[in-house]
């Protein structure tokens, strides 16, 4: 799952100065030319400090989103309504853990250790996708997350397979393959529920009502309030603007909802023949920014779950390290 770049008021790294670094103009020009020619930048290549910083922030946010994103779905794992659904959901969450690991590794190639990134998540300095700060209330939410949240993630991630930073782009290729499975599985859950009993239909519609707007927010602030977009696009860290991707998502998803006989909770939603796409209502940006600030409905639960797991597991990680040291001493002797 993807998180768009969220400014947190801090770069999440301790060592970097807040003063804008003045880069060597010749190196910068060569870098810009390579990126403009769609070449991949690799870990050992020279890169402007701002490029490195933006990427660490974006990739680590993406990694954190995968890891925190395990929680809302994990909430239904023990209550999955069939053994097949349980196995599919467990495998899906496992994929997310795997995505988290590749992404942390991709971010580590830029020189920030994983523990430092995790610390930034726990302290609230680093952000993760706003979407995971909403609760999963019924089994239909598991369908809605796959359909809408993974669907939005795919819209964001497909272009990132061509992002300029090689390790990130390559991680995205694998992530995208798995996400499209997830999206289909989620839609399949919704299909069964939307064609099921009255109680199931109610859950399906209610899940769409609750997840629709937060899903649109996943694409980040509107282009006119997204100050980094222009530079990130030039550097091929982003390949499409937030609003372009949001529009694409709406255009693809509305017919899918119609097919399920579910209604999108937006009175202003209307097909616009001229632009060959849907017009849709105003997003509640106050809510979005509140969630970015860490004021989402279950933000406290999510961070507490992560910090508890980390702190309660400290003795295990320490024991593994001490044991490995004992082994290598034995092997050396």
């Amino acid at each position: 799952m993807y998180t768009t770049e969220l400014k947190s008021g801090s770069d999440g790294g301790k060592k970097r100065s807040k003063v804008e670094i003045v880069e060597d103009p010749a190196k910068l020009a060569a870098f810009e030319a390579r990126v403009a020619a769609d070449e991949f930048i690799e870990a050992k290549d020279w890169m402007p400090e701002a490029y490195r910083k933006t990427l660490v922030r974006q990739i680590s946010q993406h990694a954190h989103s995968e890891i925190v994103g395990m929680l809302p779905e994990g909430n239904w794992l023990r209550r999955a309504p069939s053994l097949k659904r349980k196995a599919i959901l467990l495998a899906k969450i496992q994929d997310e853990a795997g995505h988290g690991l590749y992404l942390y590794s991709a971010a580590e190639t830029l020189g920030t250790p994983r523990d430092e990134m995790i610390e930034a998540l726990h302290s609230g300095k680093a952000k993760y996708s706003t979407i995971f700060n909403y609760p999963t209330l019924t089994w239909a939410d598991i369908g809605a997350i796959g359909w809408l949240v993974d669907g939005a993630a795919i819209m964001n991630q497909v272009p990132l397979q061509r992002t300029s930073y090689g390790p990130y782009a390559r991680a995205m290729v694998r992530v995208c393959k798995e996400e499209s499975f997830h999206q289909r599985q989620g839609y399949e859950i919704m299909t069964v529920m939307a064609n099921g009993t009255d109680a199931q239909k109610r859950m399906a519609q209610d899940a769409l009502n609750r997840w629709w707007w937060p899903s649109l927010m996943m694409f980040g602030p509107p282009d006119d309030s997204s100050p980094n977009t222009e530079r990130s696009m030039r550097w091929r860290i982003k390949r499409d603007t937030n609003d372009e991707l949001r529009q694409l998502f709406v255009d693809v998803t509305v017919p899918q909802a119609e097919y399920l006989n579910l209604s999108i909770p937006d009175a202003d939603l209307k097909f616009n023949k001229e632009k060959d796409g849907y017009d849709f209502g105003e997003i509640d940006w106050d809510e979005f920014y509140a969630v970015v600030r860490g004021e989402g409905p279950v933000a406290k639960e999510r961070i507490k779950a992560r910090t508890d797991a980390w702190e309660e597991g400290a003795w295990v990680r320490e024991a593994a390290m001490v044991h490995a040291q004992k082994q290598s001493k034995k092997d050396a002797a």
Binding site: M70, R79, K84, L90, A97, W139, A199, A320
Partner: protein
């Protein structure tokens, strides 16, 4: 096969299916909360294998029962008194060491058991056993590695590993009575369990030695799982697991 033997074969399949299901369900509790993402992945791998095995055993049990119940019918519609898993697998996760103690003791037994099951003349059980052996060899090995890592890690991890084993130890004797009450069918399909207790004790002792852990002292064994008399821990697990299908019994998912 006589109805009585068929009934015992159902019973055997249910015992094995329930072992896998309940332990798989317990491992699901770790998802998203493990000490590291790598461990999270390992525990989900183990859980996925077990849920897969449960589906095979329970599907077969449903066929033998002949009442139209499939894997989900058996998993979600039975009461605690009808669950036949051993008490060991339903024990709470506790800390990571307790989870590892449970997994190590169980999968070491399960591997030896499956190796025997793979040699019986019941085609379905033999096929499930052969497929599961590959998975459970990994379970037995990864859990033994963790016993060693934690036992021979820090003083804290050593103590926690010892406590985990201490919690679980009263339930190990029950593992070796899996055939109790269904001896006829075990004999009929050629399931020979005579050597596995010794092998199990040797393997466990060897791993604990390498882990610098003392073998827990012998104690009175606690039994009952195979006849549906469980610990207090199973009820809440089932209530949670079965809540959706039981609340909406006319729904398909």
């Amino acid at each position: 096969m006589s109805p009585q033997l068929k009934n015992q074969l159902y019973e055997l399949s249910v015992r094995l299916g329930d072992d896998a299901l309940i332990l798989g369900q317990r491992l699901c509790e770790w998802c998203g909360h493990a000490p590291s993402t790598e461990i999270d992945l390992t525990l989900s791998n183990l859980g996925l294998d077990l849920i897969g095995q449960a589906r095979h055993f329970l599907t077969y049990a449903g066929e033998l029962e002949g009442k139209g119940r499939d894997e989900d019918g058996l998993a979600f519609e039975r009461d605690a008194l009808d669950f036949k898993n051993c008490l060991l697998v339903e024990q709470p996760n506790g800390d990571f060491a307790q989870t590892i103690a449970r997994h190590f003791l169980f999968s070491t037994w399960q591997l030896l058991f499956l190796e025997q099951l793979a040699q019986t003349n019941d085609e379905t059980l033999r096929a499930i056993a052969r497929k599961s052996i590959k998975e459970i060899s990994y379970h037995a090995s990864i859990s033994a590695q963790w016993v060693i890592r934690l036992g021979d890690g820090t003083p804290e991890s050593h103590d926690r590993m010892m406590n985990g084993l201490d919690w679980m130890w009263r339930f190990v004797d029950e593992l070796f009575l899996v055939q109790e009450g269904i001896e006829d069918v075990c004999e009929n399909i050629g399931l020979d369990l005579s050597s596995i207790e010794n092998e199990w004790r040797n393997k466990v002792a060897a791993t604990l030695k390498e882990a610098t852990l003392d073998l827990p002292a012998d104690r009175k064994g606690i039994f009952g799982g195979r006849v549906g008399h469980h610990s207090e821990h199973l009820g809440p697990l089932l209530s949670e697991m079965q809540s959706l299908p039981r609340t909406y019994n006319d729904a398909n998912w």
